[in-house]
Symmetry: C2
Subunit: 459 residues, 2 copies
């Protein structure tokens, strides 16, 4: 980028929202991976029209554009690997434009924080289910770009299941609409479908129309304690296959349980092989009782030693404490956490966890696991001493092997975090040469000059 480029961009958004000083470049050079890649310019656009002008300009001058929400991604999706402009959407484009109660639909700008929408719709007894762990700070634009999941995915699905329509700006500055505020729409190609999870590489999303549900009036949580990880994994898929669909079905393995206990002294069962924490919801007490009773039955059938029901909001919070604090607690095992979010068909969970145990032994690395077993999604955390090169190397080898096992079991590299930079080298494990070529052809169809978030997804 030249000084002239910078000045031209200042003309579009004004000098209060276009920066190339060190402070701004530093503030926008990282995400949750903690890698640093410095952009040459940070812009805070006010509206779609400005986004269009910026893209058109950058396309003409072949300047990379990196769209960014909260920068809370785990795979480097918001990092400016080739310099260029970080297009930060959280400052001005952060308004809830409409909550349409009649059609149960919300229209938002991309910079709205997930929890902000959840709260706004719950205030009118509606419900936006996707709840990534980052819900308090990640933006809906980021959620759509990465197709974020969360704890409630087992019953309600993930971000893609709620996106009805998008407005977006193509790299050439053209503004497009994709989808409608209707449940059915089969006219034209499903552009919204391909923009979801495209990690900011195809277009800049400027408006999102999301489906809302009615908020169930009742819910109940429960915990099952299991002697082994295998018995817990069997209980997961056998409960789901019995026709019960809990809102959440989360697990912690023994290492994770012990980590939380060591940090918080909550009286957790540190000798358990695993615990499962579940929640059901509904509008009638009978529905709640029916589901909890069925889960209890399935848990005991599959070897649970104990089943604890929460009988109040406080008791529910207690049961969920371990799960919500697993991620920060496991740092006791190593200063550097190489965390992945592999996903397999639920029935493969017992085998997956068994084989992760073997990888752990083989490389002598501790691998605490927890996560969203209700949808087959396991957060595997290879813990190493980040200051030792040989430890890091062992960790990376272990991860590669875990990826290979996952693919072999019919699973995917990423259930919710995306590919970005971190997983780009593993794309060839999951996709054939022909599939990668198709991805690249699609990228070219949208972005022939490769200005949008270049260097990501091994494209």
């Amino acid at each position: 980028m030249t000084t002239q480029n910078f000045e031209d961009l200042v003309q579009i958004v004004g000098k209060e929202d276009c920066f190339n000083d060190k402070a701004h470049l530093s503030a926008y050079c990282y995400d949750a991976t903690k890698e640093r890649k410095y952009p040459e310019c940070v812009i805070f656009p006010h509206n779609e029209e400005e986004v269009s002008k910026i893209l058109k300009y950058c396309n003409t001058h072949k300047i990379p554009i990196i769209p960014r929400g909260a920068g809370s991604g785990f795979t480097g999706g918001a990092l400016a690997v080739n310099g260029g402009v970080v297009l930060a959407l959280e400052k001005h484009m952060n308004k809830i434009l409409e909550i349409d109660m009649e059609n149960m639909v919300a229209r938002v700008e991309p910079g709205v924080v997930n929890m902000q929408l959840q709260k706004a719709v719950e205030a009118v007894r509606l419900f936006y289910p996707p709840d990534p762990a980052s819900e308090h700070y990640s933006t809906l634009g980021g959620n759509v770009s990465e197709n974020a999941g969360g704890m409630r995915a087992a019953k309600y699905g993930i971000t893609k299941d709620f996106v009805m329509a998008l407005r977006a700006v193509l790299p050439n500055g053209e503004i497009i609409r994709a989808g409608k505020k209707t449940i059915k729409d089969v006219a034209g190609y499903n552009i919204a479908g391909i923009l979801i999870a495209s990690e900011g590489t195809l277009a800049v999303i400027t408006e999102i129309t999301l489906k809302l549900l009615s908020k169930p009036k009742l819910s109940q949580s429960a915990m099952g304690i299991f002697p082994s990880i295998q018995s817990a994994m069997n209980a997961v898929y056998k409960t789901m296959a019995s026709g019960i669909t809990p809102v959440a079905m989360e697990f912690l393995d023994n290492l994770s349980i012990r980590a939380v206990e060591e940090k918080f002294k909550k009286g957790l069962p540190t000798d358990a092989g695993a615990i499962l924490i579940t929640e059901v919801d509904g509008n009638l007490q009978e529905e709640i009782d029916f589901q909890i009773q069925k889960i209890e039955e399935k848990f005991y059938e599959n070897g649970a030693s104990k089943f604890i029901k929460a009988n109040s909001k406080e008791e529910a919070q207690d049961l969920w404490f371990a799960r919500k604090n697993a991620s920060p607690s496991i740092t006791i095992y190593g200063s550097k956490k190489l965390n992945e979010d592999i996903t397999v068909p639920r029935s493969k969970l017992p085998e997956l966890l068994e084989r992760i145990g073997e990888v752990s032994k083989k490389y002598g690395v501790v691998i605490p696991c927890f996560g969203h077993t209700g949808d087959g999604n396991v957060h595997t955390n290879v813990m190493v001493d980040g200051s030792k090169e040989e430890e890091l190397e062992k960790g990376h080898k272990a991860i590669k092997e875990i990826f290979e096992i996952t693919i072999e079991l019919g699973g995917t590299l990423s259930g919710e975090h995306g590919i970005g930079l971190s997983k780009a080298p593993f794309m060839e494990l999951a996709f054939s040469k022909e599939e990668m070529e198709l991805f690249r052809n699609i990228k070219k169809a949208f972005d022939p000059n490769n200005i949008l978030n270049p260097g990501k997804m091994n494209l």
Copy 2:
């Protein structure tokens, strides 16, 4: 196509499955639109490998390929407008490959008939909800290619909501896999997402992995009788917005009611402005009662004169009779039915129906309407005397005006039938020049030689 081309194709599949005789070309020259477009060759491939070889050959020789399921589409999607090869998948590639009860997933070939899968999974108490009116003959490959809906879409969604993964052959013969047997998968672009509803223009689908649900044990149907179409449409969206999600919420207007009554003498309320027929489901009687009671309340609040509950399977069938026989009955109004499947946000239904009434008066054409109001999808049927040119012309003008109203109300040209040939001229009403260009770029990314189902969707 030359004689040599034909002989080369015979080499791939054998002479028992490759034809260019008049009988075969005639049998595969039409679909539910009743237009006739003759292919030059009809091929019945046995497997993915043959599909790959055929596509590779046709791509090299620039021969059009038209993938075809049951040929039951309403928009000419399976018509060979430029000659070439009809690739008929219903004869050999029609096997259910797997019903995976542990993961609640089915794997099928594209030629499996929708109802065949429904029955197979219900035999093991699982559930595949999408139920297009063509369920007894349309194939799942066709359902995916058109993103078919059905009566149960109000609660369960449409075909796209059940597709987890696809295998497909690109025009160059390369075989790709898209998606996984996992609920979450965010690695790579969402290729399955864009193949759904692509009407056979991007790739030939050779295997479909579908999500299954547990079959609810109980259901109940009910009917509401309304003095006017407006009161019924208000009842629809106000019921849905109250937090009740019926499996189906279908309507018939007065013209449709009278047509069914004239044909079948069932004692239907011929003076009603409209009727709504609804069904709820669940696993507990309390859930059923709660939902039916809420719907009754909302119906009466919005002007219903009567609410009839079905208390047996026979009574339910009686209530549904009118809806299921609406389409064949309305032919009493004219020999030619110009039927469309426009969809609007639910809250716009009252205005949509009012304005269709105005169009009917303006052009002096009868327009009976019925359909899936639970998801805003209305089957509008402009009835004309097909033998009179000026009647047909009036009908087409009326349809164009109805499309314009639909778009103005935030709706879509097609909720479930697709664009194909019939609606291709209206694409410019719904999409901008830039959006059409993006569609064409995507088409080129998959199919640079334009051999797959050419001439469709105004691409």
